[in-house]
């Protein structure tokens, strides 16, 4: 089928997925024992039962849960993600003001993951079975076995505190300024290292597979240098699967950014999410979860499209 139809179909399929994500989150958050009203004023020594009732009516919490969900959904579709009870701005305002930071950090993480994974994977595949393979495997394993919060803390302690190369706190400069981008290297490396693990393994496996194929033997027989064989043919073909898995990285990067933003104090959505979860701020939790859900779905969509573009066989299956 045509590419356009393919894309349209994938988008259509994504919508129920996103809806499902919102329903699951909404349900989970409402599962929590206790009461939103209590959370807002429960610990206030001067709050009276009348205050509670007033607040409950105001927030519409006395209605059945599916009605609350539908209300939320209709508002959300119009861009209103609801109030954040313990803080001033609406959930939507928070997302709007913080998403650039999160996306920027994510891009850094993504870049580093690729930078680390692809060369290492190639090296390991080429040296398979020899010492180089073992060493690179070890290095890769090392990278993914370090808890990312631990790595972040260590980097911070060494580079920022001990050596003073980095400032320990976020520079007060515009987001795309040189200082800021330099500063983001540390958190970026932290996220990238953890996320690169799977990618490296895929790279290696996929290259090994390719190298076992007949055309490689044929190319070698033809007299092409090993280098040409690897870089021109094998790499290109194995990049196909790598590219698609790279898009799947998004989930890992988002998860990583939640922790890394906390360690480095980066004012993105990850840190906000933790605060929201602890405070049981339903609207904010929903808004951020949806945001990340959209990001992941988008990334998967891009991956599928790329895969289809690069490998017409797949497209034809649909």
């Amino acid at each position: 089928m045509s590419l356009r139809r393919f894309i349209a179909q994938r988008i259509l399929v994504s919508i129920p997925v996103l809806l499902g994500v919102s329903i699951i989150t909404f349900g989970l958050v409402h599962l929590a024992p206790g009461d939103v009203v209590d959370i807002i004023i429960g610990l206030d020594p001067n709050a009276t039962p009348a205050d509670r009732i007033r607040l409950r009516n105001e927030l519409g919490l006395d209605r059945p849960i599916y009605i609350q969900y539908i209300d939320w959904l209709t508002d959300a579709l119009q861009g209103d993600f609801g109030r954040v009870y313990t803080m001033g701005p609406d959930a939507g305002d928070y997302i709007a003001s913080r998403w650039p930071e999160t996306v920027l950090l994510g891009l850094f993480g993504w870049t580093f993951a690729l930078l680390i994974a692809i060369p290492t994977g190639i090296y390991a595949a080429v040296r398979k079975g020899k010492l180089g393979d073992d060493v690179s495997r070890f290095v890769a394993l090392f990278g993914i076995s370090i808890p990312n919060f631990w790595l972040g803390l260590m980097l911070l302690a060494i580079f920022a505190v001990q050596l003073n190369f980095w400032s320990a706190s976020v520079p007060q400069k515009p987001l795309l300024s040189r200082e800021m981008l330099w500063w983001l290297l540390l958190p970026g490396i932290t996220i990238g290292t953890a996320a690169s693990a799977n990618l490296m393994r895929i790279m290696r496996t996929s290259m090994v597979e390719e190298m076992n194929k007949e055309y490689v033997t044929a190319a070698r027989a033809k007299g092409l240098s090993e280098r040409t064989v690897i870089l021109k043919h094998v790499l290109r073909n194995s990049l196909i699967s790598v590219v698609t898995v790279a898009a799947f990285l998004t989930a890992g990067i988002v998860a990583g950014s939640v922790v890394v933003e906390t360690v480095f104090g980066w004012p993105g959505l990850g840190k906000l999410f933790i605060d929201a979860a602890v405070a049981q701020e339903i609207n904010l939790i929903l808004a951020i979860t949806l945001f990340t859900g959209v990001a992941i779905v988008l990334a998967n969509l891009v991956a599928d499209i790329l895969y289809a573009l690069l490998d017409p066989r797949i497209r034809d299956e649909y």
């Binding site: 129920p16 997925v17 499902g20 994500v21 699951i24 989150t25 989970l28 958050v29 599962l31 929590a32 024992p33 073992d134 495997r137 070890f138 394993l141 090392f142 993914i144 076995s145 370090i146 808890p147 990312n148 919060f149 631990w150 803390l153 911070l156 302690a157 060494i158 505190v161 320990a168 799977n198 393994r201 895929i202 496996t205 090994v208 597979e209 898995v245 799947f248 990285l249 998004t250 989930a251 890992g252 990067i253 988002v254 998860a255 990583g256 939640v258 922790v259 906390t262 999410f273 933790i274 979860a277 602890v278 049981q280 939790i285 979860t289 990340t292 859900g293 992941i296 779905v297 998967n300």
Partner: protein, 341 residues
């Protein structure tokens, strides 16, 4: 031709005639040496891998410590009486707070004078067991779920996979965090949280494998030679499909352990005084970037952090070796889908 969708069917053969004739060879469904020896080869490959051996011994050692570090009581009955920790992990002020490592306290003491070595040893209980428990639960559920989906195919498959897609749309830790903050703190709450996010990977994995294997040549061959559906499924499909699941399982144990530690680090895992490695790091976090210098009381964060790293590394070495060994048997295309934090 059978109209049952998703079932394994062969067309163009007069099956009855084939089934009822004399044996062409000695081969029968009972002689499964072929598959067993394959597994034996796999195990041998793994054992030969140096890294896996190291990893395996580390894990066994930690398991040993986990069991024997402190006595275990179930419903008041002492099931395991031995305690090899030098001090009670909960006893405060056994020495000065933040005492440096010494002969009596090889890992020093923490901020209220508890022996770090004892706490680190008891910490194995949380990390080692939770990885295994979560992976077993998630794996079992995921395999059954994905198996059903792949086996029946069609609409059932499409519906079930939608739910899997939804779980995948959550970044690994996010769903776990939401569940934990809703359910509260505790071991089983964390198990539920991570199992709920982890099963989807296995489901998708096994379903993919089943779909692939359904069209594989040797299945067709087995059917052509007279094997029945269910036998084919269990003797040929499942053993081959299970391989990537095992790989995924060994690799994801490490992920789960890190995830639990990360939640402990964020302060939403176990209670603050629990001797879980991530929680211990969180409780002493302010010593890392502190005015007195990072390495002033390094032992309170380095030891728990190192243990985490060593355990996860060991599991990953094993997993890598398993991966390689199963790989070498025929270039399985492993689906390393991105979920799971």
């Amino acid at each position: 031709m059978s109209t049952q969708r998703g079932r394994i069917t062969i067309t163009g053969f007069d099956a009855d005639a084939v089934e009822n004739r004399d044996e062409l060879s000695e081969w029968s469904d009972d002689k499964q040496t072929e598959i067993e020896s394959r597994w034996r080869m796999v195990v041998r490959e793994i054992i030969r891998d140096r890294l896996a051996l190291i990893g395996g011994s580390i894990v066994l050692l930690m398991l040993f410590v986990a069991i024997f570090s402190k006595s275990i009581e179930i419903a008041g009955v002492t099931v395991q009486p031995i305690s090899i920790t030098p001090y009670d992990p909960g006893e405060t002020l056994v020495a000065d707070p933040h005492a440096a490592p010494s002969l009596t306290h090889p890992m020093g003491t923490d901020r209220i004078g508890r022996d770090m070595l004892s706490r680190v040893m008891v910490g194995t209980r949380f990390s080692v067991t939770i990885g295994l428990v979560v992976t077993t639960l998630a794996g079992t559920f995921g395999v059954i779920y994905g198996g059903i989906s792949g086996y029946f195919g069609g609409k059932v498959d499409a519906l079930l996979m939608r739910l899997v897609d939804m779980v995948f749309a959550f970044p690994g830790l996010v769903l776990a965090i939401v569940i934990v903050t809703m359910l509260g703190r505790g071991y089983w709450q964390l198990v539920v949280a991570f199992a709920a996010t982890g099963w989807a990977t296995y489901a998708r994995l096994i379903r993919g494998e089943i779909l692939k294997v359904k069209q594989n040549e040797y299945v067709l061959a087995a059917k052509a030679l007279g094997g029945r559906d269910r036998r084919v499924l269990f003797r040929h499909v499942v053993p081959n499909a299970i391989a990537p699941v095992i790989v995924q399982a060994t690799l994801s144990i490490g992920t789960v352990v890190i995830g639990v530690a990360a939640l402990g680090f964020l302060g939403i895992g176990f209670t603050g005084s629990t001797a879980e490695w991530g929680t211990m790091i969180n409780a002493e976090r302010s010593t890392i970037v502190s005015a007195g210098g990072t390495w002033d009381t390094w032992w309170v964060t380095v030891f728990p952090g190192a243990m985490l790293f060593v355990f996860v590394m060991a599991m990953n070495m094993i997993g890598d070796a398993v991966n390689d060994a199963l790989d070498a048997q025929g270039g399985e295309d492993l689906d390393a889908a991105g979920g799971g934090g």
